[in-house]
């Protein structure tokens, strides 16, 4: 993002609420703990600036709303992507190196780095700081809300017999050229987090179903037929049209479509399982090669 020093200073002046969903944090920590050594990756999520505070739900907390609440920026992390290897995001000088496999549809809100450190509290290293600067310069301006770059530093550790793994983590915001520590709230399901649900705006786009062309007799191209067929496993476009066109009482047709989708899901799951096996084998081979190149044999 193209945040100059003045803009960053302005962002520093206002309060920034950082949050991460429990599931996203668990996935992130698992990634850090499962990597053979250090690892880093990008963080995704959204930044928003709620226009007005949520209306009071009870009569008791009027005190909260006596003064006009300052508009506060909230950044929430919803996921990450990582190659599970150290310095996958940067060159040795800490310049951002875009991952080839990274999807370009989403703009990252920051990055994370996992490294077994010895000193508490956790501090960003030389390269992490350089990467934060470089990343903030490289990324397109965050839309719709400008926000400082987020950095989460994780330090996994384990008991000597590896029975207990613990994770120390700390969040930072890039303000000017410094990474300033910030508190990171973990959002879980429950009444305590109602505010989060109030402010929730769905983001995932609904997969677009091809609309059949009514005027043509064929009802769409062969490609469209195939796409829909693969989605519903044999439940043809014609039948789908019948389903949409008919008024009601199509329970049997519905069942058939549902069963078709389940079959499709099952084959997908099988494929995932098989490819996971292959990935694991490949990782083992990589590990052996890495050992050999490091002279560890």
């Amino acid at each position: 993002m193209a945040v100059g020093d003045s803009a960053a200073a302005a962002a520093g002046a206002e309060e920034v609420k950082l949050s991460i969903s429990g599931a996203a944090l668990a996935a992130l920590l698992h990634r850090c703990g499962a990597a053979a050594g250090d690892c880093d990756g990008l963080l995704f999520g959204r930044a928003s600036r709620p226009p007005a505070p949520a209306p009071a739900l009870s009569d008791y907390d009027d005190d909260h709303h006596n003064g006009p609440a300052a508009p506060c920026l909230s950044i929430s992390v919803s996921g990450h992507s990582s190659l599970s290897s150290p310095s996958s995001l940067s060159d040795p000088l800490g310049c951002f190196r875009p991952m080839t496999a990274a999807s370009s549809t989403q703009t990252p809100i920051g990055f994370f780095s996992s490294s077994r450190r010895r000193h508490a509290p956790l501090r960003p290293s030389m390269r992490e700081l350089a990467l934060a600067r470089s990343l903030s310069k490289t990324l397109p301006p965050p839309a719709p809300v400008a926000h400082p770059l987020l950095f989460v530093l994780v330090s996994p550790s384990a008991s000597p017999d590896l029975s207990t793994h613990s994770f120390d983590y700390r969040a930072f915001l890039l303000l000017g050229s410094r990474l300033v520590p910030a508190s990171l709230a973990v959002v879980n399901v429950g009444p305590g987090f109602r505010d989060q649900y109030h402010s929730f705006v769905p983001e995932s786009p609904f997969p677009s179903l091809p609309t059949p062309a009514h005027e043509s007799a064929g009802g769409g191209s062969i490609g469209e037929h195939k796409a829909v067929d693969s989605m519903v496993e044999g439940f043809g476009l014609g039948r789908l049209q019948g389903l949409v066109g008919a008024a009601a009482g199509q329970a049997a047709e519905m069942d058939a479509m549902y069963a078709g989708m389940l079959r499709r899901l099952e084959t997908l799951a099988r494929e995932v399982e098989k490819s996971n096996h292959r990935v694991l084998e490949q990782e083992k081979r990589n590990l052996m090669l890495r050992y050999r190149s490091a002279g560890l044999e």
């Binding site: 703990g33 053979a36 077994r116 030389m126 600067r133 410094r178 050992y291 002279g295």
Partner: protein, 389 residues
């Protein structure tokens, strides 16, 4: 901080050994550098399975003190260049960000990192240390103190000077100068010199930062500091610093100081010669010394006999010899205390002495003195033994 606990062998059975390529780089740095870097504390591992350690803390000399930096390699990913964690107070030291801003990054040894090159770590440490020196100079230059600004503008050009900010919680900030003195090679002053690292004498000057403008700024705290090996040749503690006159600046003070220091260093060099002649003069009277310090000539030990009583005489020869007389210690060869340690006398330095005597006379006078003194010592030994019985 504790001195280096690092050795080639793993410190304990529980600690994983350093990964071979990392170990080679660390060893090269510790043994082959002109910079006395130390590895401190325990090494640790960044791998999940912890089979190999790949991280350690180095104490890097800076401004007559050390800065402690963590170096983090990846044993599993040897091609990845190491990352560095600086001290908690050095948040503003961002070498890679500066490289990015100036576009000088390709000159860094990180840009062409070769994980098989054992010199890698040494290059990195030296490169970062130079950048750190510049960083501290910049920090000090930002201080709003007219007198310090003047001092900086006059002495900063001196080669090898280092400055740093000292932030204290209970006192105002201070600026520390480390000024190398006397551009001379000490190894040439000492024949057969064993020093591995270049020896230096530095002037440490600590200026308090004052944001007000007092008419007479307070004098800086001055101290001479030498590299440790130099102590056996020249004692900076025995050197009397010239007085700091009010209104003086370092550019005036340093030449005066260097002049005095030069004279004393030359005297120290001459003193080695007179100590050597003294040790050589021991042989005709006491017999050939059992042991003698052949380089700095600070120590010699001879074996003596009085009747059937055999004892050693240790000569500790001070740096100010012949102005100060050698300190004698007698050690019995026949009597031990209850712990089985040979009985020794108190150090003796109150015997007749004149620095104007020639070495032969010095030795003869000591001999005459010891003829009587050894009887006292013999009595002490017999008493000590009978008591233990």
């Amino acid at each position: 901080m504790a001195p280096s606990t690092y050795s080639a062998a793993p410190a304990s059975s529980s600690a994983a050994p350093l990964a071979p390529l990392v170990d080679a780089q660390l060893n090269f740095l510790l043994s082959d550098s002109t910079l006395p870097v130390k590895q401190v504390g325990q090494i640790w591992s960044g791998c999940r399975n912890r089979r190999y350690a790949d991280r350690f803390t180095l104490a890097i000399p800076f401004c007559l003190d050390y800065v402690y930096w963590d170096f983090m390699y990846n044993a599993m990913y040897p091609k990845v260049a190491p990352d560095v964690l600086f001290g908690p107070d050095d948040e503003g030291f961002q070498p890679l960000v500066d490289y990015d801003d100036t576009g000088n990054g390709d000159k860094s040894c990180l840009a062409q990192w070769d994980f098989r090159d054992p010199r890698g770590l040494m290059c990195l440490v030296k490169e970062l240390r130079l950048l750190y020196i510049e960083y501290q100079k910049k920090r000090v230059a930002e201080v709003d103190d007219a007198r310090l600004k003047f001092e900086l503008s006059t002495v900063l050009a001196k080669e090898g000077i280092e400055v740093c900010m000292v932030s204290l919680t209970d006192r105002p900030d201070e600026v520390k100068f480390a000024v190398p003195l006397l551009d001379l090679d000490f190894t040439k002053l000492v024949p057969g010199c064993p020093w591995k690292f270049p020896q230096k004498i530095h002037l440490q000057a600590i200026f308090p930062v004052s944001r007000s403008y007092p008419s007479v700024p307070p004098a800086p705290r001055l101290k001479l500091i030498s590299t440790p090996d130099l102590k056996s040749f020249f004692s900076v503690d025995g050197f009397k610093l010239p007085t700091w006159i009010d209104g003086m600046c370092m550019a005036e003070y340093i030449p005066r100081l260097e002049e005095n220091l030069q004279i004393q260093v030359v005297e120290a060099s001459a003193s080695i010669g007179s100590r050597r002649r003294f040790i050589e003069a021991l042989a005709p009277t006491f017999g050939r010394p059992l042991e003698a310090d052949a380089i700095f000539c600070r120590k010699a030990t001879v074996l003596s006999i009085s009747g059937i009583f055999t004892f050693l005489v240790h000569f500790a020869i001070p740096l100010q010899f012949p102005k100060q007389q050698p300190i004698l210690t007698l050690q019995s060869s026949q009597h031990c205390n209850s712990q089985g340690i040979p009985i020794t006398s108190h150090p003796i330095n109150d015997y007749p002495w004149s620095p104007r005597w020639d070495p032969t006379e010095m030795v003869e006078r000591i001999y005459d003195f010891l003829v009587d003194e050894c009887q006292n010592f013999k009595k002490l030994c017999s008493d000590g033994c009978s008591q233990t019985r």
